[in-house]
Symmetry: C2
Subunit: 166 residues, 2 copies
DNA sequence: TATTGTTATACTCTATAACTATA
DNA sequence: TATAGTTATAGAGTATAACAATA
């Protein structure tokens, strides 16, 4: 390297706060991507990821959902949901059966293996989340999740309202 | 089981808070996607989007960046950055010139058209952001951005530290 | 040897369109 | 007519590999 130190190479830490405070889209995209990359480490190897974990957690709390329900909550297309269901069913982590009240629909439930898989990954998921949040205080971590939840719920309510105006 | 009315179809607003509080990956992914969809409305028509706006804003505050600098800040691959630069240069919004201190590198600067484009879209970007944030109080909106900025900076510092350990 | 920009190529993710069986 | 699941296909976005110029 040079001794007299030429023009300083712009550093990430120098540019980021100055340029992007207020740029919510960037901050959200970057945060999501950073976390996604770190979450990959938890699941490395078996071809499943944090999305599969989230769906199994959803089914853990409430079984018998239709694929369209899962699609709505996860904000996925029907066909994308189909693919994810195939991946999970192919590994024996959930099962599709006939819905008792609508024979067009599937009723999706966890299998015992699915419950075990979720339980086996749960601690590492939570650890990785906390590691990702380590630059925030405990209070800030809770607050962040509350704010995000408010936003997601707010968007959903607003879109429902718009839809009912038709 | 239910009495008379058929089993209630699980509502988004019913499932979301119960199942996903604590699922940071889901909340971040969902929030980012919701905002991205709403931001599309601002740019509909010209093939550019919020990412282009962010890059032009970065260059507005600090010109003469290399493509690798932009790639680092935006967390993009070199080749992806290349494509985005082509899109912006093709519309005359930025220009590539020889870097004065490293002849391998490009120095990227806004053109006048680029400055105008950014200015023309700025108000609608900010409006859409505020609309997206409308379920939060003003204080919460500021706080959210601060928390996200802390997280992104924290991840960056941690990765740099890891890297220097090699 | 390593880095910058570039090109060509491959891969991943997701959505669109069309079909079937039910409602 | 509309909806749930399914399948095949196409598109967007991104990364990998290789090369030339320069450090």
């Amino acid at each position: 390297m040079t001794s007299i130190s030429p023009a300083p190479r712009p550093l990430f830490s120098e540019l980021l706060p100055a340029e992007f405070t207020g740029n919510l889209s960037f901050l959200l995209a970057r945060t999501r991507q950073d976390l996604a990359e770190e979450m990959d480490a938890v699941f490395d190897g078996d071809g499943l990821g944090i999305r599969h974990y989230a769906i199994l957690s959803l089914l853990f709390r409430r079984g018998g959902l239709r694929q369209t329900d899962i699609a709505a909550v996860m904000s996925l297309d029907r066909t994308t949901t189909m693919k994810v269901m195939d991946e999970l069913e192919g590994r024996g982590l959930l099962q599709r059966s006939r819905h008792s009240e609508d024979r067009r629909a599937n009723a999706i439930d966890l299998t015992e293996a699915g419950r075990a898989w979720r339980e086996r990954h749960m601690n590492r998921v939570l650890e990785q989340e906390q590691r990702f949040l380590s630059s925030l205080t405990p209070g800030e971590r809770t607050l962040l999740q509350e704010l995000l939840l408010k936003l997601v719920s707010g968007v959903h309510q607003r879109r429902n309202a718009d839809h009912h105006e038709d």
